[in-house]
Symmetry: C2
Subunit: 331 residues, 2 copies
Amino acid sequence: MTEATLDIVAIGNAIVDVIAQADDAFIESEGLPKGSMRLIDESTAAILYSHMGPGREISGGSAANTVAGMAALGAKCGFIGQVADDQLGEVFAHDIRANGIAFNTPTRAGEPTTARCLILVTPDAQRTMNTFLGASQYLPASALDRDLIASAKILYLEGYLWDPEEPRVAMRAAIEVARAAGRAVAFTLSDAFCISRHRADFRALIDGGLIDILFANEGELLSLVETDDFDAAVATIAAKVPCLVVTRGAAGAIAVVDGASHSVPAEPIAQIVDTTGAGDLFAAGFMAGQVQGRSVDDCLVMGAVAAAEVISHYGARPEAKLDQLVRARLG
Amino acid sequence: MTEATLDIVAIGNAIVDVIAQADDAFIESEGLPKGSMRLIDESTAAILYSHMGPGREISGGSAANTVAGMAALGAKCGFIGQVADDQLGEVFAHDIRANGIAFNTPTRAGEPTTARCLILVTPDAQRTMNTFLGASQYLPASALDRDLIASAKILYLEGYLWDPEEPRVAMRAAIEVARAAGRAVAFTLSDAFCISRHRADFRALIDGGLIDILFANEGELLSLVETDDFDAAVATIAAKVPCLVVTRGAAGAIAVVDGASHSVPAEPIAQIVDTTGAGDLFAAGFMAGQVQGRSVDDCLVMGAVAAAEVISHYGARPEAKLDQLVRARLG
């Protein structure tokens, strides 16, 4: 096993978020499942876009948000994801590289366009996401940079990638590359609806011992185990992964690492504006702590600090200097 | 003179802002004149973009920001400006229409792309703007919707439009249409460097009695009159326009209307994040007050409230409900 030159390589949907304010009546009139992520086709996206308010475009994508957060915390990161040869693809590629993240997945020519997620943020700071996967769903296994994957301590995957067919195949290939190189595999369950679509696959990955670090929120964990009993769900999954991290919104988060439980309260925050990216940035803080060799408790605090920053403004990428926030909090 | 169906029609550069944080060292290393707007070509834009940090894309354009603010304050607005047939053009068109603003300038096919303004915001909240005018510079006089212009109480023009040749010609045609219909013409001087490029033209418009409402900041007014004496500059220009509004940053703003002077302090604000759009939104608040038939003092307060909102976050379009802020302030 050669020494890792990167801390993490993430594979994820390469998405530009289009974020608009909306009220509950709008969410209802559009028939949207508030707080969730749904997949939409291009024509549905066009119709919803024509109905929604003025937006701001900010690079997103769950795993991409996570590595953006880790890079802001000093980790050496790479990203693999598919954009099209268009202006939003340029925006995504610029932003990820401007974060200091290695990104060299070849651009895909022709239709469809770069993925967009139409995010409606209600006054309660909840986000309802409507994703047109576009080019992102055509990430082929052949586009994987195997050397890049083998060079990173952690391979990080988002559950959302299981929705489109090509990336699902690519993910399995990436896991093989990482494990053959002796690297850790981290996985986020992404969304309760996403789990309902791919529960068998996710369970097989976990049962097969392919996942070293698993991120979930409370609802996702319950959906995965198909139970209402949180403690039972934690016990079931913690027995199968070396590191389980479960975020619980305002109630903070827990981690079970090698059988030992840890918890952290949520960071106090003056005003929650937009919860988009909270889970992504919690994962960023936690794993940034891990690659720095910090204690599990410190990793949890770093997750909480990063999540608190990202929900204090619109957009799922950090705006403040996360490393300074962590230093102020942990020294 | 038929009754106006719109309160205002603005003609301006149709620009999407790309807003990134930057430190003073970056501004210096790129050789940028901090706090100003400079015009750049596409290749310079590409180089600067490759150097700058991750951005967020938010529709901008000076006059477009002003009508977005006025629409948020209940005014009936139209906008005329040139975008290309590309994703950023779609973003601009969507956002302006989503603000309830009439916008029907035909999209321009082919190169160049929709205008972008690369805005670097330093920790002191100053913005340094680098504008690639792209399609915006090709707004032809033939694209003017003369009925739309004639239907609005106010025609609003930005000084920035004097930089490209075609819109400059179009502006003169638009002024003729508005005056023939008995409408008011409002004008913003935009930028001190812009004035240095077009001082003779701007003075000729003012001396010719073609401007009814003139907006400037302190530096622009001094540049226009080529003096260091603020009071003398105000007196010189106020003698030539029925309504002169001069913003003075943290010192508030003044208006001289039909020879009578009025002033307003700046609104208190918890944190200034990004001063982009401060002048645009001051003009929005002031003119929204005017079309509501408010007193000059109330118009100034509305300008100050709108400007304070827009500088409290990134981006030059309002995020909060301006009408509620004004109601809370003025009743």
